[in-house]
Symmetry: C2
Subunit: 356 residues, 2 copies
Amino acid sequence: MPRRLLESRTQAAATTSIDVARLAQVSQATVSFVLNGLRTGGARVSDATRTRVLAAAAELEYVPNHAARSLRRRRTNVLTFVLPALDNPYFAEVVAAVQVAATQRGYIVSVLPVRDEEAELQALQALGGGSSDGVVVAARTDRIRDGVRRLFARGVKIVVFQDRSPEPLIPAVRVDLEGGGYAATRHLLALGHRHIAHIADRQSYSHRAGEDRFDGYERALSAAGLRMAPALVCDGENSMAGGEQAMCLLLERPGPRATAVFAYNDQMAMGALHALHARGLRVPEDMALVGFDGVALGAFTWPGLTTVEHPRNEIGTRAANLLIGCIEGGPPALEDVVLPARLVIRGSCGMALREQ
Amino acid sequence: MPRRLLESRTQAAATTSIDVARLAQVSQATVSFVLNGLRTGGARVSDATRTRVLAAAAELEYVPNHAARSLRRRRTNVLTFVLPALDNPYFAEVVAAVQVAATQRGYIVSVLPVRDEEAELQALQALGGGSSDGVVVAARTDRIRDGVRRLFARGVKIVVFQDRSPEPLIPAVRVDLEGGGYAATRHLLALGHRHIAHIADRQSYSHRAGEDRFDGYERALSAAGLRMAPALVCDGENSMAGGEQAMCLLLERPGPRATAVFAYNDQMAMGALHALHARGLRVPEDMALVGFDGVALGAFTWPGLTTVEHPRNEIGTRAANLLIGCIEGGPPALEDVVLPARLVIRGSCGMALREQ
DNA sequence: ATGAAAGCGCTAACAC
DNA sequence: GTGTTAGCGCTTTCAT
């Protein structure tokens, strides 16, 4: 059998369980049993054998072949986190939490950033090949939701992140964005502001009406007897540069000028802050500013950014555990976890008790 | 054969190439040939057959099983990026570049953050199981380098990121940190500063003497007839909080106060900036500040952060292409790419021509 | 131009 | 307590 011809260039063949078996003088099956801690029945191998096998494996630095094991077990022990961008610190922080939780339970997590809808759909499609046992998806459009459903139908477990579940059996973990938006706006209203602008990233909003920060913003305004003024809402790209640009646009618009701004997230708020500084406007005296999501950098801007903090750690942990729960059986767990966001007051609205 | 017993709970069996073959009325081998674009020899299948197979595959939404394919091909088309932390925006940006380049060439990239040496060693070990074809490693300690060597010996291709190659056949991509440190310090010296502090993260420095920013800092001082003063160097954790803390420590120390600070990276510089603001010190008037690495946020601090920008995009692209080159054969390519860093002047040193 | 068949390395029945 | 064996789904020779 001249089988090893093509592979010859690759390198010395990796050591397999057969090599270990040979060295330990046992059958390959025994090697497998020892290394997998007898998942079948009770004790199987004698202590002597076990020791011998373990020693052989250690000596050969044996590592089971991932592909073979996955093929056989129908389990990869890999979780994939599909997200829009890694350069958004919010995701970086959530991913970190997922990673910690997953690692504890024996899973590797792979991160798959997808720039656009097209790429996301492709990624979901590819995931159908069974390269991971479960996926955390930050889905946003209806097309994506279809992709999610198809993937789920193939047996890949899924948890939706920051959106409602598209399917009864797919759990979701999200933050109460509407409540957060309400809290942010309410805070500004309480400080006496009446012209409160909003720097938005509408293309990223949930498509479910009434569930995003924008809705909370409107609700708070209404509750105060005010109405959302389109001239005070400005869209920007979700980045610091986008926030800066949106702020500039806002300042250039004719009509009554805002005295406060509520930004889509802290990243965009930082951009807005820079625009204000660059124009010589003081924060909070000339313009109050509230961010959203509570990523680390908000604590280091000047002035510190008042924001609505998401429980990023808990989000990640819950998502990971829910997903692993689905994978490993257990109760169906058709959960829709909605976590509260919490107002964190720093200096950017003029209410800092003391910069910490 | 009551084989399908255990798997029953999992879900409806995924559709395989056999299903496609059946539907298209051809052998499974033909399906494989059609789907892989005849890598062997010239045309093999007739157009009629090809069409039929393609139609069948589309109808069944067939996606090849990743594990099976990898097992057979001895190729996963997965690249892994092992890095210390995702919440450092520098890595997030480099990863993004790697991802773009890898995707173009048909590879998926998986990101594996490792908090400590222990975890990194474990990760490298696990990678020995062939779950990816190549790895980009941000190695730092000697123990890691041994892990890298072992992994390489198993046939996994490797590119070292921001360190010298530990092995002749392992390429490395790095930035001229020493040159960057020199440029940063030189800039401050040129502005007349004589007491230039350094906020460091010494545990992250390259273990090769003379190759880190700190060495450039010393060289620039020497060249100006000055000597590095231990009292002006302060270590901190690599984070914004760490930078802030280090700055505070520096300000509290007795002895001649620095008039300028060169920080380990932009993240720490942002923390330092916050500390200065919090104490009512003006930047650059009371204290000049230079960052390092050039991540996005430096352009949005106030004042804008003068920094030494790394070509993050090129680093990522080069690393990915070098790695893929190794995997796909080609010339041995024993490269050690050293890219230059470039001083970017913003407002934090008092030389901004104009805040952009 | 197509099909048959041999495994990749592993797990898990099943026999002894 | 241990060995034998049948595949997981795919690629790729080899025969036709």
